[in-house]
């Protein structure tokens, strides 16, 4: 009926309604690990009952699927965790989330909140079941709003004493090193100093700005407004026959800065390379001085080679 009398029929060959039911199965009920082109025996069975409108025992199937996936995970055969939304709903309804919130472990960052992708008319178009999708302002939007609590939800854990629960969570926090919500720094990802990498680009990112940057590099390299290079900065020797284009000089500068011990470098200005170099030649060794000479000579040659 569904597979047109051939059990080896591929998913793309069945009709639109059944393909959509198959999609519900693989994306809303029993998520698979690999491709969905060849349905498994279990999938075929449930698809049959869905399509003939015979009610299936959804909780039993979900429990069975979760148990199977856990056993596969324990054997090290499966990295996918199915039913992420269902498990999250269970944690919410079982008041586990409430307990975590009381113990400062329920920020979006700690929990890593996400949502599933909605199946709608656009999906039909992507599956080539319809030619054109007609969007509507009433179309469902992805929601991160917590659902209302259900009365008489069975308990998830036996312990009800808030102090014991707090002690269990505190033990976990201590062992795992997880950060409590109010201990998260205001700007966690921003490093105080840039110690390595290429020079900062101009904010506007335009072509004109790029040209201006090259000119300013030349100006800065020729000027004596340089300071703070570490005396022990190592230097790469240039091989025979290597031309000294602007790119080479920039690459060498980048290499040189990458080899500098970051602990000894302090970036003092806008992040340009010149900010790292000292103007006091008496503090520099011979190799560093020769590098500065190369840098100051090179741009004149490079200007000719780069139109």
């Amino acid at each position: 009926m569904i597979l047109k009398g051939n059990s080896a029929t591929k998913l793309v060959d069945i009709d639109g309604h059944h393909r959509m039911l198959m999609k519900f199965m693989t994306e809303c009920i029993f998520q698979k690990g690999g491709g969905s082109d060849q349905p498994s025996g279990d999938h075929k069975l449930v698809l049959y009952f869905l399509s003939v409108c015979d009610k299936i025992n959804l909780p039993k199937y979900l429990m069975h699927h979760l148990c199977w996936a856990i056993k596969e995970g324990i054997r090290g055969k499966r990295k996918q965790i199915p039913c992420g939304r269902l498990l999250s709903e269970i944690f919410t309804q079982g008041k586990l989330l409430e307990t975590l919130r009381r113990n400062k472990l329920a920020s979006d960052k700690t929990l890593k909140t996400t949502t599933g992708k909605i199946i709608n008319g656009k999906t039909l178009q992507n599956m080539k079941i319809i030619k054109k999708f007609y969007p509507n302002e009433k179309d469902l939007k992805e929601s991160t709003i917590q659902t209302e609590l259900i009365r008489d939800f069975p308990p998830l854990y036996k312990e009800r004493n808030p102090e014991v629960l707090a002690a269990l969570i505190a033990g976990y926090v201590k062992e795992s090193g997880i950060i409590l919500d109010d201990e998260t720094p205001d700007v966690p990802d921003e490093a105080p100093l840039r110690i390595r990498g290429k020079r900062a680009k101009p904010d506007d990112g335009s072509e004109a700005a790029g040209v201006q940057t090259k000119k300013s590099k030349k100006d800065k390299s020729e000027s004596s407004n340089l300071e703070n290079i570490p005396a022990s900065a190592p230097k790469r020797k240039r091989g025979k026959g290597e031309s000294s284009t602007t790119e080479d000089v920039e690459a060498q500068e980048a290499d040189d800065f990458e080899q500098v011990d970051p602990e000894n470098v302090i970036e003092i200005n806008s992040g340009t390379s010149s900010s790292f170099i000292s103007s006091d030649s008496s503090e520099l060794d011979d190799s560093t001085l020769s590098l500065i000479r190369k840098i100051t000579k090179t741009p004149q040659k490079a200007t000719k080679s780069v139109p």
Binding site: G76, G84, P154
Partner: protein, 150 residues
Amino acid sequence: MIKPKTMAIPFELFEVQVESPVDFESLKRNRMNLDELMAAQQMVPYFNMLNGPTYVNLVKDFWVRAEVYDLDAAKVEELQAVSKDPSLRGMSRKEMILEPFRQTEIRSAVMGIPITIIEEVIAKACRVAPTTGFFGMSAEIIHCLTASNL
């Protein structure tokens, strides 16, 4: 004491699969009416529930410590009790001072709190009746359906 991990795969390598919510109205506006079918399955509240937040880290923390307590696990529990004390051989679970096996459970811990999930919990979370509808996974049923040109 925190429940130990049951899975050898590192926490970061696990991938949480999030169920997709379904916009049946949008499907209907685009010539795919599945209302009758979903009403027969009484699964509309389940699909409505799917449109909500998924807590990836909680799910992973739950998963790395999860184990299935089913009939097989209960038998292993009895064998372990007998291996520790051979005089228990042939006795009932009650006589072994083991809790009676009632149903399959998923046991784990989330952020240090031990939790247990049973079928009734899943049914409540799905907003469907727990004991009605067809369930079958046996090879015989699949064989019959395949033979009758599914």
